[in-house]
């Protein structure tokens, strides 16, 4: 089996599993308890927080709030900015058209509460333009939220420039870095980031843990009210084993980032070159400004779900922006946002690889995709019309 869907979720590293299991067995105390097993749990918790701080270039333990994942972190970040904005009478937010739904749906909710949201174009290359961010900032803008790297097409946004613009204009800047953290260098200071969301299961950590970075001095709003955990900013008994495993996984990811980057990038580029040989196909998003492991293509004349199922039969696990994989009628909002028309957006394939993939796997995938695309086109009425000249090729 070749697992090529690391953007959906990753397999936990053995080190993270071991750390988690050890902690579940031996450090089961509640960190709020003052006896020994409790204080040991607290120590594990705070050590993990220190690791996370180091990993993202922060410097204060008060700047990290552990959450149940990326979605919760995104929700809390936006809620925090909204409360600050509301209090200041600033009800305008800037975002992009291809954010994750954890951002988009929360923005929809805020729009219902009276906020106005500008969704910036992400252009054909899948990149937000920092000039356009600057131009969109108004006196009543309380937040700019732009993802670090897109989860479908992997394009890496000009975060540092956007951050600098926001800092200069005195506007809060949040980035959903769920796909970036552990994969490419992220430094909240150098990047001028005020708030950042991360999710552990995207970097070989456990599911159900993530964190929110909030720069010192920003008043955090709760999403979950209750006990005094996380300095009163996020209630609920801390998931100590999960948090420890998160820190272990992130430390590992960063320690091996450079070497893994080289390996993954080479395979990614080979995959891209191989798939480009398929006629009437196109890569989605800028070919270079993308995550080292992300490959995303559209193939004209076929539909993504059937492509995935046939690849699954060949032992390849991948994903698609096809509407059919999500139960909706519209294909991925990300592909639509970069200007792919519906017909073509339905026929997309995302391969997100990690460093464990072999050269043979890569060649196997290229051949399998070629084969399956050819097969599906062989009885596609659209393809017949395209070939017969009854319809014009888009790609």
């Amino acid at each position: 089996m070749i697992y090529a869907d690391n953007a959906a979720t990753t397999k936990m590293s053995d080190a993270a599993i071991d750390a988690m299991t050890d902690c579940m067995r031996n450090t089961y105390g509640n960190p709020s308890s003052l006896y020994e097993v409790g204080q040991r749990a607290k120590e594990v918790l705070e050590d993990a927080r220190d690791e996370i701080i180091k990993a993202i270039g922060a410097d204060n333990f008060r700047e990290i709030i552990f959450t149940s994942g990326g979605s919760e972190a995104d929700n809390q970040a936006l809620r925090t900015a909204a409360e600050i904005g509301r209090a200041a009478g600033k009800m305008h937010i800037i975002s992009s058209a291809f954010e994750h739904h954890a951002i988009l749906h929360t923005l929809n909710k805020l729009e219902k509460e009276g906020f106005e949201v500008t969704y910036l174009d992400v252009h054909e290359d899948g990149l937000v333009r920092s000039e356009e961010v600057e131009a969109a900032i108004r006196p009543d803008t309380c937040l700019v939220t732009i993802m670090y790297a897109n989860n479908e097409i992997g394009t890496i946004q000009p975060i540092r420039e956007i951050g600098a613009i926001c800092r200069a204009k005195g506007v809060l800047f949040h980035t959903d870095a769920v796909q970036a953290i552990g994969h490419i260098p992220v430094n909240v200071k150098d990047d001028n980031i005020d708030m950042l969301s991360a999710s552990a299961h995207k970097f070989h950590g456990p599911k159900g843990t993530g964190f929110l970075y909030v720069r010192k001095g920003i008043k955090i709003s709760n999403l979950i009210e209750g006990g005094a955990q996380e300095r009163g900013k996020r209630a609920g008994t801390e998931n100590v084993p999960g948090i420890r495993a998160t820190a272990v996984a992130l430390k590992d990811a960063i320690a091996h980032m450079e070497e893994n980057d080289k390996i993954i990038r080479a395979k990614r580029d080979r995959l891209i070159a191989g798939l480009k040989e398929i006629p009437h196909s196109a890569i989605n998003g800028d070919e270079n400004k993308r995550l080292p492991g992300n490959v995303n293509f559209c193939f004209e004349g076929i539909e993504g779900e059937s492509l995935l199922l046939l690849l699954d039969d060949k032992g390849i696990q991948a994903s698609s922006g096809s509407a059919c994989t999500s139960g909706s009628l519209d294909p991925s909002h990300v592909l639509l946002a970069i200007g792919r028309v519906h017909d073509v957006a339905h026929g997309s394939l995302r391969l997100s690889i990690d460093e464990t993939i072999s050269d043979e796997d890569v060649e196997y995938i290229i051949n399998a995709v070629k084969e399956v695309v050819t097969y599906l086109r062989s009885f596609s009425p659209i393809w017949r019309d395209l070939v017969a000249g009854k319809k014009e090729f888009i790609l």
């Binding site: 539909e303 779900e305 059937s306 096809s322 059919c324 009885f379 596609s380 009425p381």
Partner: protein
């Protein structure tokens, strides 16, 4: 709990009656690329019997499986029976479809109806 039943996967993996009938006397195409599903049915009808049927489909696994199953259900059948074919029957023959995939069976029913209409139309044109 696989996404699809074994039957669906069988018809998806080994679709029956795939292709084109060059001398079809009833052809129907439904769906549109925008929604991600297009089904095209070719019928060869003789003496009010579906002597041959083939399909082409652009669509998801259940769309391909529904087309395949539907062609099997009407092949060799008298038109009176073919006209009675419902999407529910197709879905049932596939041992069920996920709720949000039922529209694929609807497309199959509609594709056959559309091909039948084409057949009737051609017949009345020939007769006139």
């Amino acid at each position: 709990m696989a996404l699809y039943s074994e039957k669906v996967m069988d018809h998806f993996r080994n679709p029956r009656n795939v292709g084109v009938i060059e001398d079809a006397n009833g052809v129907g195409e439904v769906g549109n690329a925008k929604c991600g599903d297009i089904m095209k049915m070719y019928l060869k009808i003789e003496n009010d019997i579906v002597e041959d049927v083939k399909f082409e489909t652009f669509g998801c696994g259940s769309a391909i499986a529904s087309s395949s199953m539907a062609t099997e259900m009407i092949k060799g059948k008298p038109l009176s029976e073919v006209r009675e074919l419902t999407n529910k029957a197709v879905a049932e023959a596939l041992d069920g479809l996920p709720d949000y995939k039922m529209h694929c069976s609807v497309l199959a029913e509609e594709a056959i109806k559309s091909a039948l209409e084409d057949y009737e139309k051609r017949k009345s044109e020939n007769n006139s």
